[in-house]
């Protein structure tokens, strides 16, 4: 069962993504901000239980999505993870910035849950 780490400071968004992913057969973990995300991923890397993909919101307290994605790409133990930015920021400059930071895909909210699942599935399969 593929695993996805959902990183978002809004509980209802985490719940929305979790519900849809679980219905599609994914196992889901949650992180409440960028620092929580990196800490969990480093522990996962040490334990050999890294998720197959990570969805990251951009605007979060303590550490936002851009910095988090850069931190993932800068850490050799995490750099190969599949990362999706899922965010309300949809200006072209934001999308460019998210991709330059190292996101594999930039998904703007409000999103279609089915499309999100299809995107994650495609990415995991292509990495696969």
């Amino acid at each position: 069962m593929p695993t996805v780490l959902v990183v978002d400071d809004t509980a209802s968004i985490r719940f929305l993504i979790r519900t849809n992913l679980e219905l599609a057969g994914f196992e889901v973990r949650e992180a409440v901000d960028g620092i929580d995300c990196i800490e969990q991923l480093r522990a996962d890397a040490a334990a050999g239980t890294l998720p197959d993909a990570v969805t990251v919101d951009e605007m979060m307290p303590r550490q936002g999505g851009m910095v988090t994605v850069r931190a993932i790409r800068a850490d050799p133990a995490l750099a190969d993870l599949t990362v999706l930015m899922v965010t309300t920021q949809n200006m072209p400059m934001d999308i460019k910035r998210g991709m330059e930071a190292g996101a594999d895909v930039y998904v703007t909210k409000p999103f279609d849950p089915d499309e999100l699942i299809a995107t994650i599935t495609d990415l995991i399969d292509s990495e696969g």
Partner: protein, 554 residues
């Protein structure tokens, strides 16, 4: 119905559940309940996870508590429906009339809409920029000028008594190199190897010579002193002027020397001594910072009796606290990252609470790009890109907006061509244009003699889906600004303005605001004009918090 009103309704519903014995809250009532705008329409207008938060402590199943709350709320004024989702989320739909009322609330509060009292009674010292007067403000300092000033506006809006402070030193090695560079220029010599270059050195040098014509011929030591004193004064005047033009003024310019002259350093050391936080070793006096998370203890007084660098920080922090500031916020560049743990340890050693009494915000680098290439040279400041360079390239509004638009923990590349453009890809243009367009609609209404005040406003007429989206955006403004102040993140306001401008454009594309041709003026036109006026007010309030103008015309 605003999120605040929904919060009150939910708290009242909790109260009724307590009164009838179904709910026990051992920790008391929450003062307020956070409601959020769901990102998926099917989840209603607002959602809250209050049942999930309270159920465990109350010994209840979260879904049961959510069901009880939903039943209570469905009979509340202004709420059309309340539904339970998932493990205990509560999705709320607001009655059309109650939702439209938000527009009236905005217009009634005007420039105060969004003002809150979350920091009421608190005195906040905001220290930012704090560059020594050896040259124009460089681009990193400019980021703090924009963000720091916006944060000051946000905290003031949140009820705090804010003092903007600039800390500087006009002695030491940097200033000495600056003075020698000025003198070399006056004598027609090359800048010293470790000196400062750029046209500004020649300009200020010429001004010093004009003030002190005989200074060039003085012996070196005397000449350097004249150029130091006069040069620093001129440079500082230029810095203050350029910051003022940028919309940033400081309440206090604090001179490092005052700490030593006033005995503040000795007082700080004495205080820490009395608290048992100091000890002697190897002839030096140390502060036990490692007791508070620092990686090692720090020398405060060197073995030769001279105060170490940190002594100034100790004294300055204590001085701020003695001046009555509850919170001291310091904004520093990324090169100061290693400095944070010792400062926080110092704060704790005084018996204060790090993160409350002292906060340090670290700002990452800013790169300017032109034609996709980094800008490396300034017209006037040599190899340093300055405030003037940025303002010359894109103007004050775009500069302030661009620098405040990103989380400070993230480095930014500013594409000057994009930020100077008049396209919707330029965020500041997009928001300002929305404000100008809203103003234009209201001018047209005035020309057609269509009243758009609140006298005949029927909020229930704002029932279109896109009107609902825009109303909910307006309703969330107070929460956005309160959270931006709380998290020290002015960029949340910028992003909010962009999404609200987008909601307006979508509304305007599908909802006719003014009658066309011979069409009679209807109540729905008047109601939509109130919504337009309210949207303009919210954009103006938000832009004001970023120090950016809200143009009537573009």
């Amino acid at each position: 119905m605003t999120p605040d009103q929904l919060s009150t309704a939910i708290v009242s519903a909790l109260g009724r559940l307590v009164d009838d014995g179904r709910l026990a809250l051992p920790d008391g009532f929450p003062a307020e309940v956070r409601v959020e705008r769901p990102k998926v329409k099917e989840h209603g207008d607002y959602a809250t996870n209050i049942a999930l938060q309270l159920a465990k402590k109350a010994g209840l199943n979260p879904r049961d508590l959510a069901q009880w709350l939903a039943a209570e709320l469905e009979s509340a004024d202004g709420i059309a429906s309340a539904e339970v989702a998932g493990p205990g989320f509560l999705n709320l739909r607001v009655a059309a009339g109650a939702q439209g009322q938000v527009a009236a609330v905005v217009l009634e509060r005007g420039g105060d809409y969004g003002r809150n009292d979350s920091y009421a009674g608190q005195r906040v010292n905001l220290e930012f920029v704090s560059a020594n007067p050896t040259g124009p403000i460089h681009i990193g300092g400019v980021r703090w000028a924009a963000v720091g000033d916006s944060l000051g506006r946000l905290l003031t809006f949140a009820g705090a008594d804010v003092t903007r402070e600039y800390y500087f030193n006009d002695h030491g090695a940097q200033i000495d190199r600056f003075a020698r560079s000025l003198l070399a220029s006056a004598r027609g010599q090359d800048a010293p190897e470790d000196g400062y270059g750029g046209q500004y050195i020649h300009d200020i040098s010429a001004d010093v010579v004009a003030q002190h014509p005989g200074a060039v011929a003085l012996p070196d030591a005397e000449a350097v002193e004249v150029f130091r004193a006069a040069g620093v004064e001129l440079m500082f005047a230029e810095i203050k002027r350029s910051l003022h033009d940028f919309g940033v003024d400081f309440d206090v310019y604090f001179h490092e020397n005052d700490l030593h002259a006033s005995g503040a350093v000795e007082r700080a050391i004495g205080r820490l001594d009395a608290l048992g936080k100091m000890y002697e070793s190897g002839g030096a006096r140390w502060l036990r910072t490692s007791d508070y998370g620092d990686d090692k203890d720090r020398v405060v007084v060197k073995s030769d009796g001279q105060p170490a660098y940190i002594s100034g920080d100790l004294a300055y922090y204590l001085d701020k606290r003695e001046r009555g500031f509850d919170r001291c916020l310091i904004m520093l560049g990324a090169d100061h990252h290693g400095y944070v743990s010792r400062m926080m340890a110092m704060c704790a050693a005084f018996g204060d609470e790090p993160g409350v009494n002292l906060e340090i915000l670290i700002g990452q680098m800013v790169n300017l790009l032109r034609d996709g290439q980094p800008l490396r040279m300034s017209k006037r400041a040599g190899t340093v890109i300055s405030l003037e360079d940025l303002v010359d390239a894109i103007g004050i509004d775009a500069a302030r907006y661009a620098l405040s638009r990103y989380s400070t923990d993230s480095p930014i590349d500013l594409d000057l061509d994009l930020w100077a453009s008049t396209t919707n890809d330029n965020p500041v243009y997009y928001v300002q244009y929305a404000h100008a367009r809203l103003s234009s609609i209201l001018r047209n209404a005035d020309d057609l003699a269509i009243a758009h005040g609140l006298q005949n406003f029927d909020p229930a007429l704002l029932e279109h889906e896109k009107e609902g989206d825009l109303l909910r955006a307006l309703a969330s403004f107070p929460e956005v600004v309160a959270r931006a102040a709380q998290l020290r993140e002015p960029h949340r306001v910028a992003r909010y303005l962009e999404s609200t401008a987008a909601a307006f454009h979508t509304f305007y594309a599908v909802c006719r605001v003014l009658p066309q041709g011979d069409e009679d003026v209807a109540d729905v036109h008047r109601a939509r004009l109130v919504l337009v006026a309210a949207t303009r007010q919210v954009l103006a309030n938000g832009l004001g918090l970023l120090g950016v103008t809200a143009p009537e015309r573009m």
